[in-house]
Amino acid sequence: MSKHQKKPVNKKYILSRLWKYIYHFKWLVAAAVFLTISSNVLALLGPALSGRAINAIEPGKGMVDFKSVFFYCALMLVFYIVSSVLSFILSRLMIKLSQNIVYKMRKDLFDKLLDLPVGFFDSTHTGDIISRISYDIDTVNASLSNDLLQICTSVITVGGSFLGMLFISPKLLLVFAVTIPVTIVFTKLRTAKVRPLFRIRSRKLGELNGFSEEMVSGLKTIKAYRRENAMIERFDRVNTDAAQAYYNADYYGSTVGPSVNFINNLSLVLVSAGGAIFYLFSMMTLGDVSAFVLYSRKFSGPINEAANILSELQSAFAAAERVFSLIDELPEKADAPNAEDIADIKGSIRFDHVKFGYGEKEIIHDLSFEVKPGSTVAIVGPTGAGKTTMINLLMRFYDVNSGAIYLDGRDIRTLTRKSLRRTFTMVLQDTWLFGGTIAENIAYGSDGADRDAVISAAKAVNIHEYISSLPDGYDTVISDEGVNISKGQKQLITIARAMLLNSPMLILDEATSNVDTRTELQIQESMNKLMEGRTSFVIAHRLSTIQNADMILVIRGGDIAECGTHEELLKKDGIYSGMYRSQFK
């Protein structure tokens, strides 16, 4: 992620982002505020009632007014019951609220994720993404559900106590004129110190998760090389970093509460000593002093509480920052405003002086060629020559740096990505299946394909028999690491998927590399049928697919070195024929 790391976003920005989520559920929030106030008021009425009850007891031995005592006790019970029910409803409401926000945040994050350009995934650890979706959002959530209410209650209490003190002795209130700024300055300074630490803590945890993901994915290799201990050592380093970062944040974060408490205690000392002296000089009554002290206790309590949740808030901020920074990643460039959907196409493709590089380094320099509708183009060349890059450009996973690619004479940048990609079927070397049933995997992409269609696609690629031999047949769930299914079988399933898709154009990038020759021979016919009438781009090692191509592009260092049919290129006696002959040596 380091590459995508932006300047630390400011607090206001994060707050305004968070506020949007909260605002989205404004009615829930309003209900929560209402409940908070009413259950607090009810809880406060309880003691008042008990006061009445005690007044009724007051007269003492033999004089107790039992009628009133019973009355007020009964009333108290009712109030407490109502208050408890309200607070129960309130906490459920808060859970609902925070979970709704979490749901929405997670959804936004994931939705954004899928709209990011594929390059993002090449440079980001999966574990780090997972860390944001789970841990970071959880942290924000914990803070939202606990701290928000706490802050609300605190504000009410602080405001009330302040008014109370103001009425009793504005002079004594001057004490707070000293301690409150001290608290604020201290908290500010601490926050400035602690915030980066929490940011580091979140990041390190993300790194730990990224590392765990990486290692767990490579378990077999690690075992085969007996590198367990070496990897444990590496893990320990990352682990220590993460635990230490947590500790560092805690080290300073956990001093905030006691420190603010200390300042409060000091102000208490000043208030009581000052009050006592005022009393001595007859500037205050003793009753006023004790009432003032009571208020000041009430006053500092919530401030204390607020300081305690401050560190929680800091970690929530750091987490929110990571969440929003992913949501703020630049998505795939939006389709041009006047982009059109493309549906019925003939399938002619033209590369016109295309230049492209993933970063600084240009990989494709000035590539131009034309493909007639329905023809098969084989792309041949050494690894790293830019074959896969061409496909990336064609599918608009990336856009060209200069030049243009035309589909049926239309610049593909003037088309919507979705409709453009719909016109292609792509089978890649890296097979990808998801944790659903085999039938779902085959029908993936062809919405509403029925079981018969799925079966006939499976038959066409010769995997029907195998699937039928499984206990659950087409409903076999493909498990995580799929011990039950080999790489080659997975690839056949993805080819069946392509068969079912029925798009006008076809991209086969080493599509049969994991399939053995015999099976390949068996599915050759279906593959040919698949390519029939479709503009097809084929990247392959094997000759059979290439030999019959209408055009062979020999790519070398991002340029077309040779171009023509098999026969033409052999006659030319250039690179291609050299390659062809080398195998007979």
Binding site: T126, I133, E233, S272, P382
Partner: protein, 579 residues
């Protein structure tokens, strides 16, 4: 949860010291209001400024002690939480690396990942919180009860009557909480899995315009996670209001009983008032205790998940020495195996062959025929259900895993790349010098392209090696396998992305420079294995042909079919140089 205590045990002294300091700090905090009351009630009426300042000074000292005590104790608690988490995570990770493949299959990778991350994080939080909150609440609780006892034992007992039902509620809520939080973690596993899937398949998803579908799919898991978390928290939400209700009801009864007692002249109103002040303290303390319970029940769900991994038995034990002079170096004696264990449809059926030291074995056959399974048995990722696998006459089960696996250099299909330099990927944490690394990349035909990179061997690879081409990736992996000069080299379909010429050069280099190495090549291309001393043609878990290339061409129809179909193929990319 027991596990966590085992981890905390060695730190008991430190924990105890921390808690003691914390207790002092907390007591100081509590002494301050007491001094305050004393000042107003006793000192002020004495009208002595000196005394007032003296007591004020004492309060300042108490405040400083409270500050220091709390800060020091908090930091000690953090340190203990850090050290414990470090150890737990370390043990968990090393256990995971030592799990057998069957066990990892069972736990599933996403679940292991989230156990390493979310679950250990929960534990970290729990250990810190308990230490910080675990002092104040009990002190206030016990202190409050003692004071009320001295004030009015009868009324205190009335109040204490509410404790048993409260304890029952807290306990059963917490118990149910563990279950619900475990369910929540399970849902999180599912979510992690879908995120992983999406990241891995992003190209396919975009190509098929299935992003909306995937968003829906994630949306479902998302709502499942949210639902699980809601029910876990809803359960927890009962205990706080219930506590408030019970205690306040208790208080009401205290007033009622108090009324009778006052009426009877046994008690005074003042006592009841004082009683109510302390009652608030007790209530708050109980609420804190409840919070601790909530944290613990979430934490112990995670602790249980971690313990399940830590407690899984070591599946692979080294058996008694079992040596047999077979004359071969690698022997499979009538080996059968199924991933689902004995009795299921076997992936390998009665496999027997023998290979001499320094020879090359080629394995070819259709997808799913058991080629890779055979390799997994040789490395003892799984144990054979029947029959014996021998290396140099020793049953693989009789060798320690270390001794067994140190013999191999292996490249799997789509093998694992560290996000580190090329050199680190080749060295792979072993003691391998620069000379060996250079030699290995030369033999793996990787020298040229590595040399052309700006930073050469120090070129940083991304996770999954996405910043080099497939062929380059394979050559780096082959260098890794060659670097330690292994006794047995296994290439499991790992030169598929190499062009014909490079593949041939690689084979020559291996033959010339590693002639003592026994090589096993799993391939789909006949040209990759035609030079082998022994070729196994496999189909449906059985060997359908064995022999040299020439022999098989005459005896094995399957082989002939494959060979014929590939004649004149595999020519692409030859002679071209890399970028």
């Amino acid at each position: 949860m027991k596990r966590i205590f085992i981890y905390l045990k060695p730190k008991l002294k430190r924990i105890f010291a921390g808690l003691t300091i914390k207790t002092i700090g907390t007591l100081m905090d509590l002494v301050i209001p007491w001094i305050l009351a004393y000042m107003i009630d006793t000192v002020v009426p004495q009208k002595s400024v000196r005394l007032i300042i003296l007591w004020g000074f004492i309060m300042v000292i108490c405040s400083i002690c409270a500050l220091l005590g709390n800060v020091i104790a908090n930091r000690m608690a953090s340190a203990i939480a850090r050290d414990t988490t470090l150890k737990i995570r370390h043990d968990l990770f090393s256990k995971i690396t030592h799990l057998s493949c069957r066990q990892t299959d069972e736990f599933t990778l996403p679940s292991l990942i989230s156990r390493l991350s979310t679950d250990t994080y929960n534990i970290h939080q729990m250990i810190g919180m308990i230490q910080r909150m675990g002092v104040r609440a009990p002190i206030l609780l016990v202190g409050g009860i003692i004071v009320t006892m001295t004030l009015e034992p009868v009324l205190t007992l009335v109040m204490l009557c509410t404790i048993p039902p409260l304890a029952f509620i807290v306990w059963s809520v917490a118990k149910k909480g563990v279950k619900l939080y475990t369910a929540l973690q399970r849902q999180i596993d599912r979510m992690v899995r879908i995120v992983r899937e999406n990241v891995a398949g992003i190209r396919v998803i975009k190509a098929l315009s299935k992003t909306d579908y995937e968003k829906d799919r994630f949306g479902k898991v998302n709502s499942d996670v949210v639902a699980a978390e809601k029910s876990a928290k809803y359960n927890m939400a009962i205990s706080n209001p219930a506590m408030n209700l019970f205690l306040n009801a208790g208080l009401t009864f205290v007033i009622l009983v108090g009324a009778f007692r006052v009426n009877a002249g046994i008690s005074q109103t003042g006592k009841i008032i004082a009683f109510m002040t302390y009652f608030t303290i007790i209530l708050n303390a109980l609420l804190s205790v409840n919070r601790i319970f909530m944290i613990v029940s979430q934490g112990s769900a995670s602790a249980n998940r971690i313990s399940r991994v830590l407690d899984s038995p070591d599946e692979f034990t080294t058996g008694a020495p079992d040596h047999k002079n077979t004359g071969g170096f690698i022997d499979f004696e009538d080996v059968s195996f199924s991933y689902s264990g004995p009795g299921a449809v076997p992936q390998l059926k009665n496999i027997s062959f023998s290979l001499k030291k320094g020879q090359t074995l080629g394995i070819i056959g259709p997808t799913g025929c058991g080629k890779s399974t055979l390799i997994q048995l040789l490395l003892r990722f799984y144990d054979a259900d029947a029959g014996t696998v021998r290396i140099d006459g020793d049953d693989v089960r009789s060798l320690s895993l270390d001794r067994l696996r140190s013999k191999f250099g292996i490249v799997f299909q789509n093998d694992f790349i560290l996000s580190d330099t090329i050199e680190e990927n080749i060295v792979f944490g072993r003691h391998i010098g620069e000379r060996e690394v250079l030699e290995s990349i030369k033999n793996a035909q990787a020298f040229e392209f590595v040399d052309e990179l700006d930073k050469g061997l120090n070129h940083m690879l991304t996770a999954r090696g996405t910043n080099v081409s497939g062929g380059q990736r394979q050559r780096i992996l082959i260098s890794r396998a060659l670097a330690a000069d292994p006794e047995i080299l296994i290439l499991d379909d790992s030169s598929s992305a190499l062009d014909y010429k490079t593949d041939a050069q690689l084979r020559n280099a291996v033959n010339e420079n590693y002639f003592e190495t026994t090589t096993i090549i799993v391939a789909q291309r006949v040209s990759s294995i035609s030079h082998a001393d022994l070729i196994l043609v496999m189909d449906g878990g059985k060997i359908v042909g064995a022999g040299t290339h020439e022999e098989l061409l005459n005896t094995c129809d399957e082989y002939k079919l494959i060979a014929d179909s590939q004649m004149g193929e595999d020519m692409m990319e030859g002679g071209a140089d890399d970028e």
